[in-house]
């Protein structure tokens, strides 16, 4: 289900913005095993987009389909308006990619890998010495080391460096903070935010909801190979509340269809009922007064509760 409440397809002037990534019904099965099942989503120009989902939900498969490593069974994907398969070379010329599992050439020096990446992007490594030095300093990378001698975290840092060294217009990161210490995590997001301010679009997948909340303007939730929700994470974005009421055990509670803005019932536990609410406060208070609850809690919905409601299957009793 694609969120229709949030529309980032229009800028403040009401002009339609071109999505940098546009995915339509992208389906990929590995034999009988599901990779993605009709993924549809857009990532708009200049945004940081979080891609959230549990292991096996289809995040990495989607990213690999975007890169053309995997061939989709059906559906289509375009980046910067160009088909990811037909215009593979041109599309990838504008992308930097950090894989989830970093495996590069074991006996290659980091400096050679970075230079090779620049050459692939038609850039002369000697013109990028300053940039290479800067990136290595930001991510605490020793460019003289051989790749096989690096720890997991240092390998990840090299992957990040090679993804950004050529100033891409779009950076795809598959769980980039796995294995990174907190300091480098901070440096990574500081860097990503700084290049984002200069116009670079970023999509990263993650299990870490806090880093998604802190850095992304929007997030897509993927479950069983489908995007089930796209969430506005900006301060003025999601206005939904979670309302929890406590009622005497003798009372039963069902969500009123007459209350505009009442959403899903999230939890029913020991006489306490939680539900989404996105209507106006007066209507809610007026409705609650008719129930005479023994306790009421109205709070902003957290990303965590969203995540749990999506992946724990809705009502929890």
């Amino acid at each position: 289900m694609i969120d229709s409440r949030v529309n980032f397809s229009q800028d403040s002037g009401g002009q339609r913005m071109m999505p940098v990534i546009s995915i339509q019904n992208l389906k990929k099965y590995y034999g009988k095993s599901r990779g993605t099942d009709a993924v549809t989503m857009d990532v708009e120009e200049g945004e940081i987009f979080g891609f959230i989902g549990p292991n096996g939900a289809g995040k990495s498969t989607t990213i690999k389909l975007l890169l053309g490593l995997l061939k989709a069974d059906s559906g289509s994907a375009s980046i910067f308006g160009a088909d990811v398969l037909k215009d593979s070379r041109a599309v990838k010329g504008r992308i930097g990619y950090v894989p989830g599992d970093v495996r590069y050439y074991p006996d290659m020096k980091v400096s050679y890998l970075l230079d090779t990446t620049l050459r692939f992007h038609q850039k002369n490594p000697s013109d990028y010495k300053g940039k290479t030095k800067e990136i290595c300093e930001i991510f605490s990378i020793d460019p003289t080391k051989q790749f096989e001698s690096l720890s997991l975290g240092n390998k990840k840092k090299v992957a990040i460096a090679q993804a950004v060294i050529h100033n891409p217009d779009l950076i795809l990161l598959d769980e980039p903070t796995n294995g990174l210490d907190p300091l480098i995590q901070k440096n990574l997001f500081d860097y990503l935010r700084s290049v984002n301010r200069e116009g670079t679009t970023i999509l990263f997948s993650s299990h870490n909801l806090a880093e998604v909340k802190a850095n992304c303007r929007r997030a897509g939730f993927i479950k069983d190979g489908k995007i089930i929700e796209t969430e506005d994470l900006s301060p003025n974005g999601n206005q939904e509340k979670v309302v929890t009421i406590a009622l005497p055990e003798s009372c039963s509670f069902t969500l009123p269809s007459s209350l505009p803005g009442a959403g899903r019932l999230l939890r029913k536990e020991d006489g306490k009922y939680s539900f989404h609410y996105a209507g106006n406060p007066e209507s809610l208070l007026s409705y609650l007064s008719t129930l005479a609850p023994s306790d009421v809690l109205i709070e902003d919905e957290s990303l965590e509760s969203r995540f749990l409601s999506y992946y724990e299957g809705g009502i929890r009793e």
Binding site: L70, K71, R89, K92, Y97, P99, R103, Y105, T116, F120
Partner: protein, 275 residues
């Protein structure tokens, strides 16, 4: 040509190892030539050879007994075994070329760069061809050197060097066939782990089939066609010196190369690049 550059950079160590081993081996085995260069030794070999059945002699490439007192014939006899090593190297090079990146996971780096599958395919093919050509060049150079060091007095150097060049060309030809078949294997295999076993199995399996066919072609009807299964029998070094390579063998070899590379290219365009 960045894929070529990267791939050749990654292959340079293995090329150096293979070329060094074969260079040392060529020099070591050619060091036996001076002891062969005597009429007594030639007579002894002829006498020993007569004890074997014609089939055995054929299987070991001794059907028309070489004149080991001539350095080029001694060299040609040795090279039929070096050709086996060269074929193994070529088959392994080809078979590792594409699946190697998937097994090691480096394809995620390589294919995230602005390159197409066609560029990866053809530049890796060129890299493998270059590596194998460099290997053959090393074999040729150390062969020339060994002749200069171990030749007998009165050896016609220009004739001998021309013979070495022809045999090296045969080594290139048979190696390219195995490299092309290896390339096809590289697209079909799911992992690199069995590459060395399969590649050497391919070389020795086809060689044994060809040797068997040669040994029994007069006794078993139709078995001679099995020779076409063995690229190493298309350009046997001693035959190259005597008669050159038969046109039918050249066309068969070229056909195998074209079909293997064409099929490999077609399949590589369609497959998932898994890591």
């Amino acid at each position: 040509m960045n894929v070529f550059r990267l791939d050749f950079h990654n292959q340079r160590k293995s090329l150096l190892v293979w070329a060094s081993i074969v260079a040392v081996s060529v020099l070591s085995f050619m060091a036996f030539y001076p002891s062969m260069n005597s009429t007594d030794m030639a007579a002894a070999i002829t006498s020993q050879a007569s004890a074997f059945s014609p089939e055995m002699l054929q299987a070991f490439g001794l059907d028309s007994l070489p004149d080991f007192t001539r350095i080029i014939e001694f060299y040609a006899y040795l090279m039929q075994y070096f050709a086996l090593a060269g074929a193994c190297y070529a088959a392994i090079l080809g078979a590792n070329a594409l699946i190697g990146e998937e097994t090691s996971g480096t394809i995620e780096y390589l294919y995230a760069q602005p390159v197409t599958r066609s560029e990866i395919f053809f530049q890796k093919l060129l890299s493998a061809v270059t590596s194998y050509s460099a290997y053959c060049l090393a074999v040729a150079l150390f062969s020339y050197l060994s002749v200069l060091v171990f030749k007998a007095a009165g050896t016609d150097l220009s004739d001998t060097f021309a013979g070495i060049t022809k045999i090296t060309a045969g080594l290139l030809f048979t190696g390219f066939i195995f490299l092309a078949v290896g390339f096809l294997l590289s697209v079909l295999l799911k992992s690199q782990r069995s590459v060395a076993f399969l590649a050497t199995g391919l070389v020795f399996g086809t060689y044994i089939a060809g040797s068997f066919a040669m040994a029994f072609e007069k006794k078993i009807d139709g078995i001679r066609y099995l020779i076409y299964l063995s690229p190493l029998h298309y350009a046997v070094p001693a035959d190259i010196l005597r008669t050159g390579v038969e046109p039918a063998n050249i066309w068969t070899g070229l056909g195998i190369m074209i079909v293997s590379i064409g099929l490999a290219y077609f399949l590589y365009q369609k497959k998932d690049l898994k890591s």
